[in-house]
Amino acid sequence: MRDAQKEMRRPLGLRLWLSGGWLFALAVGAILAPLIAPHNPLAQDLFAARLPPFWDAKAEPGFWLGTDSLGRDVLSRILYGSRLALFVALVAGTLTCAVGATLGMIAGYYRGWPDRIISRFVDIWMAFPPVLFAILLIAVLGTGIVSIIIAIVIIDWTRFARVIRAEALGQSAMDYVASAKIAGRTKFSTMLTEIFPNVLPSIIALLTLEMGISVIIEAILSFVNLSISTDSPTWGGMISEGRTSVHQAWWVLVFPLITLFLTVLSFSQLGEGLKDRFDPVLR
C-alpha cells in the first residue's frame, strides 16, 4: 500500500525562518560579543560623542550605529546588552514556564482541592499590578541578575498556570483519559504520558511568548535602573539614556528600541512557527 502521508512534506514556514534567524543571529552576537564588538562598550570618548550612524555624511568609520553622548559605541553596547537580555529570556522564561505549567496542569487535571488552592492563588496574584510588583520585589531582593529572574518567575507564573489549567481541563474530558484509566494507568502517569503531550504545543507557544515578555520586563527594570549595575550595558538602560538626547542623537534611542522590538516579536512568532512545523496534529 502506497503511503501518501509519508510523502507529504510540510513547508518550513517563513515565520519560523525569520524569527529563528533573528534570534540565532542575536544569540551568536551575544556569545561572541567580546570578539566581534568593534569597541569596548564602556569606553568613553568625548571627542567622538553623538556620532551618527554609518550612512550619515558625518559618520566616523568603525562606529556603525553611531555613538551616544559619552562617545560609547551603540552597536557594541547593543551586542553586550543582548547577553543579559537573552540570558534572562532563556532562564526566566524556562523557570516561569516550569513552575506555571506544572501548577496549571495539576490544577486542571486533578481538580478538587489542588485546583481550588492554585486557582485562588492565581486570582489573587493577578490582581497585583505587575510592574509595580516587580519594582517592589527588586526593592526587597536587591538588584542583580538573580533578582530579575526571581521577580519575573514570581510575577508571571500565573500566565502559564491559567492557560495550561484550562487546556488540561479540556483534555481531561477527552475519552483517551478515560481509556487510559480503563487500561489501568495511574493518574500521575496519565497526566505525564497522555495529558502532557497534548498541552505541550500550548506550553511551547507560551514559553517563547514568555521569553519575549521577560526581555520586556528586564528592559523596564533597566529603564528605571533596577536591573544590574549601571555600567554594564542594557537595552533598557540605553533607551533610558537615549530618551534624554533624542533630539540631538535619535539613534541612541532608536537602535536599541528596534532590537528590543524585533527580539520580542521573534520570540512570539517562534512559538507559533514551531507549533506549525512540529505539532503532529494539523490544525
Binding site: 483517551y176 478515560a178 481509556s179 489501568g184 497522555e194
Partner: protein, 265 residues
C-alpha cells in the same frame, strides 16, 4: 456470569441547578438496573438518548461511581473496589468508545496507542502483538507509524478495537461504536466485531440507539428507557413480538428498505 448488575443506581449532581450556596440537586440517571451477562453472550443494550446507556457503560467500567447497587465481574464484587486493587484486573474487561477522535490520543502514533495498555500489564513482545492486533482488525501494519488524524473514521474505530483486543480481555463493552460511521463502514466494523467475538471467544456488551444494528449482532437485548430496563428478551423474540410500548416505538423508527413492507423478522 461475566457481569452481574444488581439494582444499580447512579445519580450525578445537576450543576445547572446548583444554588449559590449548598450542594447541587442530584439527578437520578440510573434508577435501579439489574441484568446478567453470561459468558460468551453478546448482549445488546438499546435506548434513546438520555436513557442512561452510556452512564451504565461508564459505571460498569468503573469510570463513574455508582450510588448504590452492585456490579459483579466474574463473581467478584467490583462496585466499590479501590482503583489500586482494580488495576490488576483492568486487563480483563475493556471498552471501545463511541468517538475515536476523542478516545485515541491525537499526539500518539497508532502503534503507541495499542502498545501502551499492554506495557502497563507487563505483556512482552509488544511490537509483534501490535502487528497481530492490526492484522486482526484488518489494518496494514504500517499504520502503527500513523497518527489518528491521518486515518479515516472507520480505520480509527478499528484502532480502538485493536487496542481493546490487544490486551486479550474476556469482556468488551462497545459503546455506540458505529454511530459516527457511514453505513458501509458501519457494516464492515460490525462484521469485524462479530468475527472477533467468535474467534477470540469474547463476551460482548454492545450499546446502540439503533435496533437494526443490534439485530445483526446480539443474542440478547435489554431496552433502556429513562434509567430503567423496560424490556429484556432474546434478540429474535424481541424483534418478533416486542412487549413494551417503548420497544415498539424504537422498532417503528427503523427505516425499511421498502416503505410498503411491514417489518418481519
Amino acid at each position: 456470569m461475566m457481569f452481574s448488575i444488581n439494582d444499580l443506581k447512579l445519580s450525578l449532581p445537576d450543576m445547572t441547578q446548583k444554588p449559590l450556596f449548598g450542594p447541587a440537586p442530584q439527578i437520578d440517571i440510573l434508577k435501579g438496573i439489574s441484568f446478567d451477562i453470561p459468558k460468551g453472550c453478546v448482549l445488546g443494550i438499546v435506548g434513546g438518548s438520555g436513557s442512561g446507556k452510556s452512564t451504565l457503560a461508564r459505571a460498569m467500567m468503573r469510570l463513574l461511581e455508582p450510588t448504590s447497587g452492585s456490579i459483579l465481574f466474574d463473581g467478584m464484587d467490583i462496585t466499590h473496589t479501590s482503583e489500586e486493587e482494580l488495576r490488576g484486573m483492568r486487563q480483563r474487561f475493556q471498552m471501545i468508545f463511541q468517538d475515536p477522535m476523542s478516545s485515541l490520543n491525537p499526539r500518539r502514533k497508532v502503534g503507541g496507542i495499542i502498545a501502551g495498555p499492554m506495557r502497563l500489564h507487563g505483556m512482552d513482545r509488544t511490537k509483534e502483538r501490535v502487528n497481530e492486533a492490526l492484522d486482526l482488525v484488518g489494518l496494514p501494519q504500517s499504520f502503527s507509524q500513523r497518527y489518528p488524524h491521518e486515518l479515516s473514521g472507520g480505520q480509527r474505530q478499528r484502532v480502538g478495537i485493536a487496542r481493546a483486543i490487544a490486551l486479550r480481555p474476556e469482556f468488551i463493552l462497545a459503546d455506540e461504536i458505529v454511530s459516527g460511521l457511514d453505513v458501509s463502514s458501519q457494516a464492515q466494523v460490525l462484521n469485524l466485531l462479530a468475527k472477533l467475538v467468535k474467534e477470540l471467544g469474547l463476551t460482548l456488551a454492545f450499546i446502540s440507539h439503533d435496533l437494526s444494528v443490534i439485530r445483526r449482532l446480539c443474542d440478547r437485548v435489554i431496552v433502556l428507557h429513562q434509567g430503567l430496563i423496560v424490556e429484556e428478551a432474546e434478540s429474535q423474540i424481541l424483534f418478533e413480538s416486542p412487549q413494551a410500548s417503548y420497544t415498539k416505538e424504537l422498532l417503528a423508527a427503523i427505516p425499511l428498505p421498502d416503505p410498503d413492507q411491514i417489518w418481519d423478522a
